[in-house]
């Protein structure tokens, strides 16, 4: 663990990503305690106020300006990050757990189970993920829970494929064979022996998937299929702000920058994790 953090300190890009991720998480958690205006309170007198850089700390000011309904953009971005990060984290956990377990099962049992599962993966891969997400969200409705499930649905196969490959290799290794020999049960072998050995790739995939899911979530809400108003969401802010692009550039600029920085920091961290743990995963995306 100590050497892990030492290596992280040495990598400028990795450290930058890690710190930025921490800042975003802190911002999301602390949003209600920062004394910002409510993200949903509109004010007809303060519509489309331009950003005022100098007034960052004076109360009642709008450092990033306000939108077409007079709502504070900084506050909306911070509150929006709560929704985005919660949904994305939920999808990563759900997709990761399901994908990893299915990958272990497929790799361990091989044969019919494996073939059917991999066929399902192939079929799903024939449908561009964005289209799949769009279809399913349109069908089941865009609640937060549904979004988590749908985004996880676009994500599980990446774990399943890679973990299956790892398990296929692992099951021939001595410690698994000897676990068999002493009569350890199937589930015991899968949970106690195989799972801990695939946790590293799972962690790496999860980080890289987090970045992809944040963008996809934003894209869905940009198309009006994200969390429904009045909850602030980054994609929706972009979609709404687009209309005012000629008069108020800031409405559409800052939420996009927020997405960019979040994804960038998660990517930097993910790339570093991958290079640290397992450079072989580089082409496995």
């Amino acid at each position: 663990m100590k050497s892990f953090f030492l290596a992280l300190l040495k990598s400028r890009a990795g450290l930058f990503g890690f710190l930025l991720v921490l800042v975003f998480i802190a911002g999301a958690i602390l949003a209600p305690y920062l004394g910002l205006p409510s993200p949903t309170r509109s004010s007809l007198t303060a519509r489309m106020v331009a950003p005022t850089w100098t007034s960052l700390f004076s109360p009642g000011a709008h450092p990033l300006g306000t939108d077409e309904l007079g709502r504070d953009i900084l506050s909306r971005i911070l509150y929006g990050s709560r929704t985005t990060l919660l949904i994305a984290a939920g999808a990563v956990v759900l997709g990761g757990v399901v994908g990893t377990l299915l990958g272990i099962v497929a790799g361990y049992y091989r044969g019919m189970v494996d073939r059917i599962l991999m066929r399902i993966v192939d079929i799903q891969l024939a449908l561009p993920l964005m289209l799949l997400a769009l279809l399913v969200v349109a069908a089941v409705g865009a609640s937060s829970q549904n979004l988590v499930v749908v985004l996880a649905l676009t994500s599980w196969l990446r774990y399943a494929r890679i973990i299956r490959g790892q398990v296929l290799a692992l099951r021939e290794r001595e410690f698994i064979l000897s676990a068999h020999a002493i009569g350890a049960g199937t589930w015991r072998i899968m949970i106690k022996h195989l799972l801990p050995n695939v946790m590293t790739p799972v962690l790496v995939i999860a980080t890289l998937e987090l970045a992809r899911i944040i963008i996809m979530d934003a894209a869905l809400s940009f198309l009006g299929l994200g969390v429904q108003p009045p909850s602030p969401s980054w994609g929706r802010m972009l979609a709404d702000g687009r209309v005012y692009i000629t008069t108020a550039w800031w409405i559409v600029t800052f939420p996009g920058l927020a997405i960019l920085l979040t994804v960038l920091s998660v990517n930097l961290l993910g790339d570093w994790l991958r290079d640290y743990f397992d450079p072989k995963l580089r082409t496995a995306r």
């Binding site: 192939d122 891969l125 024939a126 940009f222 692009i245 996009g256 960019l260 960038l264 995306r285």
Partner: protein, 305 residues
């Protein structure tokens, strides 16, 4: 090679069948279109008549079999919105989507390959740093936001280019550029790391020990092998471009398949959704088939394995 090809072809057919099945059942959950098709205040009798006419009151499995059979013949039904064959509605939008995605794929791959090669060959220089930072930013930028920013700069502020729609070549520039940024960022990063990996291979040393010129070593021994993962990546990117078309076509008011699908979903126009998604999946499957073939050509180990 023939066996490899047949297996891939069969897999492609199964994949398309799977996609069509998913789309059929998902679109039935979308809701009842009859309400949308009739004027407000239509009586239950009218609704029932329309349902019968559209075949919606038959058992689900029967509808599924019928539509599967029809789809094999290229009949996806009549669009509820446009009142003409759904496949026609989608097909006539296809050239716009395909030309834009194709342009971005070719242009983006070219730029990405050059940038990636520069970064690998000029390891440790400012050039590498610039390429890598640009690629990292490019990968982290949501395409729809980049598109809006480019419109803000080139159309709103400078007034140089149209904000959207299709027409002349100038309409291609902004959406093409937007998608190319994403493509070239992915290609540049992958090619760089792939090249750096291959440069360390023993067979590259063998090639140099033969006295080959650096140019020959680079193209025939390093680049030739480094391209193999890039080909896989191009397949993945093609999928993201096709899927991403729903977003980018919305941003640029581009009259393509993606926009038709989004509109059809909003209008619950089942036949168009099915035709659109099946078409996109079909194209994607064909692209992946081509990628697999190219893969087989590039890597003899796959061909006979």
């Amino acid at each position: 090679m023939t066996r490899y090809l047949l297996v891939k072809l069969l897999e492609a057919v199964v994949a398309i069948w799977g996609v069509v099945t998913i789309v059929f059942f998902v679109s039935r959950i979308l809701g009842d279109p009859t309400v949308l098709l009739l004027p407000v205040g239509a009586g239950p009798e009218e609704i029932a008549n329309l349902r019968t006419a559209l075949g919606l009151d038959e058992p689900l499995w029967q509808q599924y079999l019928y539509s599967l059979l029809a789809m094999v013949k290229g009949d996806f039904g009549i669009s509820f919105q446009h009142v003409r064959p759904a496949l026609d509605v989608v097909l006539e939008r296809m050239p716009a989507t395909a030309s834009l995605a194709g342009l971005a794929l070719i242009f983006g791959t070219l730029i990405g390959a050059i940038a990636g090669a520069i970064a690998a060959l000029m390891r440790g220089t400012v050039a590498e740093l610039v390429v890598m930072i640009a690629a990292l930013l490019g990968q982290a930028t949501p395409t729809f936001w980049l598109g809006i920013m480019l419109i803000l700069l080139f159309s709103v502020e400078l007034g140089l280019l149209p904000t959207g729609g299709a027409g002349g070549w100038e309409n291609y520039i902004l959406p093409g550029l937007t998608l190319s940024v994403f493509v070239s960022a992915s290609i540049a990063r992958l090619l760089r790391s792939s090249l750096l990996d291959i440069m360390r291979e023993d067979y590259v040393r063998t090639a140099r020990a033969k006295g080959l010129m650096p140019r020959t070593v680079f193209f025939w021994h390093i680049a030739r092998n480094a391209l193999i993962p890039v080909v896989t990546m191009i397949g993945i990117i093609a999928g993201e471009l096709l899927g991403g078309s729903v977003v980018i076509e919305t941003v640029f008011a581009w009259p393509g398949v993606g926009r038709v699908i989004v509109q059809a979903i909003q209008a619950q126009d089942f036949p168009v959704i099915q035709a659109g998604v099946a078409l996109v999946a079909g194209i994607f499957v064909v692209v992946n088939l081509l990628v697999d073939l190219l893969y087989g050509v590039l890597d003899p180990r796959i061909r006979r394995g």
